[in-house]
């Protein structure tokens, strides 16, 4: 009798939690070396951002773009594609959403926002289309192309923001601030930064989950990921699906950029997406969430809590906030190791171990 997949959820969860735990352990040793109490540092870092109402809502706020970038990577991974260009797509989406938000002035604030987001999505899609077409028609490895295009786009945007689109009156490189009608206002719940953008991102997560679990497109994409020969032979038009999927991924990334612009930054600066970058963070989140929508949601919130917690750690202890970067690196490192074989349940594994011992 073949066991159902769900029977083996134990090792999967452990395989996700173990790397995080190990990263915190080694991070703790580093904190000890600095001369601080690691438990105290972690309490400050996660306690405020997860276990106070305001802190948690802020965490959700910062998790919004991460949710979308994590999803953008998770969905391509399903079809065995690797969109490493989420960072670039996010930047270009955010940049042009910002330009649209500053230069357009529509009477309806709803329309203003919708147009800005559409601009962001459109730019993300167009930018993702380049590697998609190269892959579909010329078999160019999309992983390399998307990865390299990030750096090209960063430079292009650097030029645009410091040249043609530079805000004249500003002392540093940035674009004009978007009109207020294009800004997502704080909802004011518990005095937090939370805006509608989080709910939008969450709704999109639900929609994508539905598409992947319940539609023909979702099934075809799964089939392409699991057995491309089968997909081709049953007429699933693999090439077309690859393009569609990369476009969806680009759209999610572009929307993440637009949302980040409209709910947090309001203008494009060279540090728009922060250190490590929201797109790169998305990669970690997709990995940590095991390319599963609920996993992505939880991972995005966890990761956002780490990021917001970094500021607290800086404020209340002598541990530098870069410790979060260290933790991130360690998590990725340990995620690359598969600690447990996921084909078997924990109980069976234990039983096997026991029977082996008996035999010996």
């Amino acid at each position: 009798m073949t066991k159902k997949k769900s029977d083996y959820i134990g090792p999967k969860v452990l395989n996700t939690l173990l790397p995080v735990g190990l990263a915190f352990l080694i991070g703790g040793i580093i904190i000890l070396c600095i001369g601080e109490n690691p438990l105290e540092a972690y309490r400050i870092m996660l306690g405020k951002s997860l276990f106070t109402a305001k802190g948690f809502l802020n965490t959700l706020h910062y998790a919004s773009p991460l949710l979308l970038t994590g999803l953008a990577i998770a969905i391509t991974f399903k079809a065995n594609l690797f969109n490493m260009g989420v960072e670039g797509q996010l930047l270009v989406g955010g940049f042009f959403a910002g330009i649209a938000g500053a230069s357009l002035d529509l009477t309806s604030p709803v329309m203003q926002k919708v147009v800005c987001m559409l601009v962001g999505i459109g730019c993300g899609v167009l930018f993702a289309l380049i590697p998609a077409l190269l892959r579909a028609f010329f078999h160019v490895d999309e992983m390399v192309v998307t990865l390299m295009l990030n750096y090209a786009m960063i430079k292009v945007l650097e030029y645009l923001s410091s040249g043609p689109f530079r805000e004249a009156g500003s002392g540093y490189v940035c674009t004009p601030v978007i009109h207020e009608s294009a800004m997502f206002q704080r909802l004011g719940i518990g005095n937090s930064r939370l805006t509608m953008f989080f709910f939008l991102a969450f709704a999109i997560l639900l929609i994508m989950t539905f598409i992947f679990k319940k539609t023909k497109l979702g099934m075809e994409i799964t089939a392409i990921g699991k057995n491309p020969d089968f997909a081709e032979a049953t007429g699933m038009r693999v090439r077309r699906k690859i393009i569609i999927l990369m476009c969806i991924s680009g759209a999610l990334a572009g929307l993440a950029g637009a949302g980040h612009m409209m709910s947090e930054k309001f203008k494009y600066t060279l540090g728009f997406s922060g250190t490590t970058g929201l797109g790169w963070d998305g990669m970690l989140i997709a990995l940590l969430g095991r390319h599963n929508p609920i996993g992505v949601l939880l991972a995005a919130i966890f990761y956002s809590a780490l990021k917001t917690g970094a500021d607290n750690i800086n404020m209340y202890t002598s541990v530098p906030k870069e410790i979060v970067g260290v933790l991130q690196g360690l998590i990725i490192l340990f995620l690359a190791v598969q600690f447990l074989d996921e084909r078997f349940g924990l109980r069976e594994r234990f039983a096997r171990r026991m029977s082996r011992k008996e035999e010996a």
Binding site: M1, K216, K226, F230, A233, T234, G235, M236, R237
Partner: protein, 508 residues
């Protein structure tokens, strides 16, 4: 004769599932023993225990009367037991002799002594009268020769007992003959051979004794000379089977043409033309068989006709409609059902569920998909219908395909393609690696379709299958069609001659 290896109450459980239950077998020294049984009967599990891959749950293995415990294939080889798997484990870029000696290289002062290695392998090949060049690279030799290399690998390690898992499944008829002769020669030289198979003709030809396994239990031990194919078949499936379903009683094919292929050519990746001017037609209510030794363009023809490869010249017409270079989804929409050559590559997705596989390629029928949204209720219902109607044995009806045995997996494809009312079925190797019960079922289904006035294009490397099902047979040789024969009038030898490329006879 003394007993060289025997098992006593050998049992293997995977969780709750009992794969082998209290198996007692005895193999005499210097005999060829065939283990037969349907797919999923537990033959491979048993052999894997003898070869140290699996550890028995209970029971014991006796070698020359003494109990042995094996923890790995290395232990098995040390005990003189070697196995050749169905899927070869060879390094394509290395030569024959390098593969044979892989892991036990002969060294001189820390360096590999090539000359000594080649001499030894040459001697080995001579000793067992194999016909193979030790200097040839694996990637350049045929499947049959690869198998010889695998056997030589074991012989070099001085095994006395050689286990072969479905050795003929991948071979051409000529290679099968060669293998049979090799096995007999090995036996003469004192080796004991255990062959897992479900091809009864081979059993009768080569073996000294037969053990029949069904559902993990031994149900019969017989001397080959005391039995016959029909009796073995009955033992295997536990009921009477007509060994070959014949195309005899049905109505005559109609005159209307259902499908026509006109002068198609195609090239492979390295731009060599591999199909030359292939033309054929199938009438309504007719089975057209395409025979030929594998590798003569059948695979490419199948790919072209099923829409995964394009033609460079020529036309394909289904009832007058142009289907040249059409995508697989269009082919299916216009009424071409496809049973692909390799069911786990093109036919099914192992890691996906049975309901999902049941609708693959057919999203627009049976109301399973409405505006892109899948109806899981309808899918399950359809899956239930197929399982019932096509007698598909499952343990978890909505679980993944990989739980199914080969025959049952094939039935999922048959169900999917037949239940969408095709005008033409392109059936490629429809019974390859399928148990006898399923073979009969599939053959009956194909003929039922034919008798209902549909066209069937049957491509198979099993000559008996082609001969007993077809109304007409065309033979492929080197990428072209070399001749057409009437299965009623022609003998297997005549077709065999054509398959070997000897003189075209009766062009039309």
């Amino acid at each position: 004769m003394s007993i060289i290896i025997e098992t006593k109450k050998l049992t293997k459980k995977f969780g709750d599932f009992v794969a082998n239950s209290k198996i007692d077998i005895q193999v005499e020294k210097q005999e060829i023993k065939c283990i037969v049984g349907e797919n999923g009967a537990g033959k491979s599990t048993l052999m894997n225990m003898l070869y140290g891959v699996y550890k028995p749950t209970s029971g014991m293995i006796l070698l020359n009367g003494k109990e042995i415990v094996m923890n790995s294939p290395t232990d098995a080889i040390r005990n003189g037991i070697g196995m050749v798997h169905q899927h070869f484990k060879l390094v394509p870029s290395l030569t024959v002799y390098e593969n044979i000696l892989l892991g036990s290289e002969i060294t001189k002062r820390g360096l590999i002594d090539r000359r000594e290695e080649i001499t030894k392998v040459k001697k080995l090949i001579e000793q067992y009268q194999f016909q193979i060049d030790p200097m040839e690279k694996i990637q350049n030799i045929s499947v049959g020769l690869c198998q010889q290399v695998e056997i030589l690998k074991m012989l070099y390690r001085n095994v006395d007992i050689l286990i072969l898992d479905e050795p003929t499944a991948v071979l051409t008829p000529q290679e099968v003959d060669r293998l049979m002769e090799n096995l007999k020669a090995l036996k003469k030289q004192g080796k004991t051979i255990i062959v897992i198979t479900h091809k009864l003709r081979e059993v009768m030809y080569v073996s000294d004794s037969v053990t029949v396994i069904k559902s993990g239990q031994v149900i019969g031990n017989v001397k080959t000379k005391d039995t016959n194919e029909t009796e073995l078949a009955q033992m295997m499936v536990g009921r009477d089977v007509v060994l070959t379903v014949r195309n005899e009683s049905g109505p005559k094919p109609r005159e209307e043409e259902a499908y026509r292929v006109e002068g198609i050519c195609t090239v492979n990746d390295s731009n060599h033309e591999i199909l030359h001017n292939v033309s054929l037609y199938v009438k309504k209510g007719e089975v057209l068989g395409i025979a030929g030794v594998e590798g003569n363009g059948q695979s490419e023809l199948i790919k072209v006709l099923t829409g995964v490869m394009t033609v460079t010249k020529g036309k394909v017409l289904l009832g007058g409609k142009d289907m040249t270079n059409a995508w697989p989804d269009k082919l299916r929409k216009f009424g071409i059902g496809i049973i692909p050559e390799d069911r786990y590559a093109q036919g099914l997705c192992k890691e996906m569920t049975i309901p999902e596989n049941c609708i693959a390629g057919y999203f627009d029928t049976h109301g399973v998909c409405n505006k892109g949204v899948l109806k899981s209720g309808k899918m399950k219902q359809l899956c239930d219908d197929y399982i019932q109607k096509y007698d598909i044995r499952v343990s978890d009806q909505y679980g993944v395909i990989s739980q199914l045995s080969g025959g049952n997996a094939q039935k999922v494809i048959i169900a999917r393609e037949f239940e969408n009312n095709p005008d033409l079925i392109i059936a490629c190797q429809p019974t390859r690696g399928v148990d006898i019960g399923s073979i009969e079922f599939i053959h009956r289904q194909l003929l039922a379709l034919r008798n209902a006035g549909k066209a069937v294009l049957l491509i198979s490397s099993e000559l008996t299958e082609i001969m007993s099902l077809s109304d007409r047979i065309v033979v492929m040789y080197k990428g072209g069609i070399i001749g057409e024969v009437d299965p009623q009038a022609a003998s297997a030898e005549e077709i065999g001659l054509l398959m070997a490329g000897a003189g075209a006879k009766g062009g039309n």
